[in-house]
């Protein structure tokens, strides 16, 4: 009997050890990292949470408000194009009206616009927050008025919203850094070009990358500077680094493909071999450069097509279906996962203009109408 009990205890311990080992395997982050990043803590917690939306359940068709970034660049123009196309696809018996506000990428323009949209009494609000702090109180007011808020492509500081559609930005930054570490065999000098300091997307990606570099003592970060998510700024900064460090630079971490295009351009001007770049995207211009110059790179994604998922989520919420509090587009939209140069030919599209960020879900004719197709 004792033997049986002992065996049972042993089996339970082994099972526990296996479960623990699985958990440890599933989470790529250390507890220290999670504790150090409120963003990571929030995302990991919300991934496993469900929001009970029965309070918002109502019959369709629905009037949905979209507080968007606005047509300030090609990314946001394609974001809006995806939204309009998808609402048309769904038909007026699902969405009777898509209310729209263009924030011109500015938080202080967006705050009153959210008030204007709420005054139109929408059934749900899809918000692309232009400022995590600035939009927190407006989001809380919307929820207090009974309008469910679906955050799309960015987040706010309050926890009082239904769900967020995006991706784990800390993980994206860490992925690019880990790829670079592997590419360099764990040893070498890197430079880090971040986006705009103070903008959460940039800061969070940076912290993910820094955690990886810190965990690899063979990697030396020569310098970290902002490239302002600009090709011109990126090129200027890379030129400075090239004159300062020259061929000491073994790899480059970049927080965005616009900057990476500037980095490549600086190397081409200097006539120096381009080192591995952890910082590509599904951005046609960068992919063209990568093919033409045989660049080793890793890419993360932040697709404008995610607005389709945001609209689907809003409908789910209004139909009273519970939704996860964090929805990673990588799990729902094809071709939005991280990738590297081995897949560059699959992602590059020779008919698209350089400023197109994929994937594009609507027909090519529509892309042509918008002027994003190259005509020979």
């Amino acid at each position: 009997m004792k033997k049986i009990m002992l065996l049972g205890l042993l089996a339970m311990l082994m099972l526990g050890a296996v479960v623990f080992a699985q958990d440890a395997e599933e989470s790529p982050y250390t507890q220290e990292e999670i504790d150090a990043s409120p963003y990571l803590t929030s995302v990991l917690a919300r991934q496993d949470e469900e929001y009970d939306t029965t309070a918002f359940k109502k019959d369709g068709p629905y009037r949905i408000a979209l507080a968007a970034q606005g047509t300030s660049n090609a990314w946001s123009a394609l974001f809006d194009a995806h939204a309009n196309w998808y609402v048309e696809e769904l038909g007026t018996d699902v969405i009777s009206e898509l209310l729209y506000a263009d924030a011109t990428a500015s938080a202080d323009v967006q705050v009153p616009q959210v008030e204007d949209l709420l005054a139109q009494e929408p059934d749900a609000l899809i918000l692309v927050p232009m400022g995590a702090a600035a939009l927190s109180a407006p989001v809380e007011r919307a929820m207090a008025q009974g309008v469910p808020v679906i955050l799309c492509a960015s987040t706010v500081e309050t926890d009082d919203f239904v769900t967020e559609v995006g991706t784990n930005l800390y993980g994206s930054g860490a992925y690019l850094a880990q790829w670079l570490v592997d590419e360099l065999g764990g040893e070498g000098n890197v430079v880090m070009m971040t986006g705009i300091p103070g903008v959460s997307t940039s800061d969070i990606m940076q912290s993910g990358a820094e955690a990886v570099f810190a965990a690899n003592p063979g990697i030396t970060v020569l310098d970290t500077q902002p490239g302002q998510w600009s090709t011109a700024e990126g090129k200027t900064l890379m030129e400075t680094w090239l004159s300062q460090y020259g061929d000491e630079i073994d790899g480059i971490w970049s927080g965005g493909a616009q900057m990476s295009q500037g980095i490549v351009s600086a190397y081409l001007d200097a006539g120096v071999e381009i080192p591995p770049i952890g910082g590509g995207e599904f951005a046609n211009g960068f992919l063209r450069q990568a093919i033409e110059n045989e660049i080793s790179f890793a890419a993360w994604q932040y697709p404008n097509a995610m607005v389709k998922l945001c609209i689907d989520t809003a409908i789910q919420v209004l139909q009273g279906e519970s939704v996860p509090r964090f929805i990673d587009f990588q799990d729902y939209i094809e071709n939005t996962q991280n990738f590297d140069d081995s897949k560059v030919e699959e992602y590059f599209n020779s008919t698209w203009s350089d400023d197109v960020s994929g994937p594009i879900l609507f027909p090519e004719e529509k892309l042509a109408e918008l002027g994003f197709i190259v005509t020979e």
């Binding site: 898509l98 009153p112 995590a132 600035a134 109180a137 103070g198």
Partner: protein, 320 residues
């Protein structure tokens, strides 16, 4: 003075800009009502008025300065620093609310005092003084923080949605400011001096008016009202964010010009600027109702300003 100046035609001509602004407001209301059943509702109209209060509070300060022939390009920067300072001073603690409000307003008044001091003593043009201030205060704000900082107290945050009867408290506050300014400009000696200094500072000086004192008054009021605007933003967002206030100086100048105030000073009415403020706020609201891209608002505003300036020139020719 001739009897003709009191004829209906003369009165109409003198107030043409104001009438056009209110005419445009009526047209926008008709377009909005025709395009959306949710446009001409209590909820949306109170929303527009509450938004107008933000621009209006700062625009009336600008109006006072412009009436004296000056200009204040630092309004947006004062708002920016005020949001940050008040949020830091409040730090989410209700006990700090009163002190934070007083200190923020005092900061605004101090900025206005410095403007007037430099203009009066060093004889530097208001454009240069306030342009320097615009740059310096932006630098100060970004030195304080490039990202959101501080926190509003609960009372301050609740004030944003506070109602007196069916009307938002912010609208009531704005109306009170409009009435007080109207009394100041039309019923007080200081108000008459503002118009006199704007009309011709040399003549005003010869008439025994202290031009420097008038300038101290208007610049302190202007920056004080900008600081109040910053406090309203804190109540709206609950946090100090350095992005607030960008471009506000131009919006205030636009509202003042639209309202029929002459940029060369000495001429302008509170009712006109109120119309300019409401017109700009209503345009933004209508564009959202019509789902139009925001850049078109800039085009519309530009077209209205050109029309207003053309109208001024026409009026000047007729009166000259």
């Amino acid at each position: 003075m001739t009897t003709a100046s009191f004829s209906p035609r003369a009165i109409l001509r003198r107030n043409a800009t104001i009438l056009i602004v209110y005419g445009l407001i009526v047209i926008l209301l008709i377009i909005g009502t025709a395009s959306s059943e949710r446009f001409f509702t209590d909820r949306n109209l109170f929303n527009v008025l509450r938004q107008a209060a933000f621009l209006g509070v700062a625009a009336f300060g600008q109006m006072l300065v412009i009436l004296t022939g000056g200009i204040d390009l630092s309004v947006g920067s004062v708002v920016k620093v005020s949001v940050l300072v008040s949020a830091i001073l409040m730090s989410g603690d209700s006990n700090n609310t009163f002190a934070a409000i007083v200190l923020t307003l005092a900061f605004g008044v101090l900025v206005g005092f410095i403007h007037a001091f430099l203009i009066n003593r060093l004889r530097v043009a208001p454009f240069i003084v306030t342009l320097a201030s615009y740059v310096i205060l932006r630098g100060v704000a970004l030195n304080i923080s490039t990202s959101p900082i501080g926190k509003s107290s609960k009372e301050m945050l609740l004030f944003y949605d506070q109602r007196i009867g069916p009307v938002f408290a912010i609208i009531v506050l704005f109306v009170a400011i409009v009435i007080l300014l109207s009394i100041l400009l039309n019923r007080t000696v200081f108000g008459r001096h503002i118009y006199a200094v704007g009309g011709n500072p040399d003549v005003a000086h010869l008439a025994g008016i202290s031009v420097p004192l008038v300038r101290y008054g208007v610049y302190m009021l202007c920056s004080g009202l900008a600081a109040l605007c910053g406090l309203l933003w804190l109540s709206r967002m609950g946090i100090g964010d350095p992005v607030i206030g960008d471009g506000l100086e131009l919006d205030t100048i636009t509202a003042v010009i639209l309202g029929g105030t002459s940029l060369s000073g000495g001429r302008g009415k509170v009712i006109g600027v109120l119309g300019g403020v409401i017109l700009l706020s209503l345009t933004g609201n209508l564009l959202v109702a019509l789902k139009v891209n925001q850049w078109i608002q800039g085009l519309i505003q530009g077209a209205i300003i050109v029309a207003a300036v053309a109208l001024f020139r026409q009026e000047d020719k007729q009166s000259g």
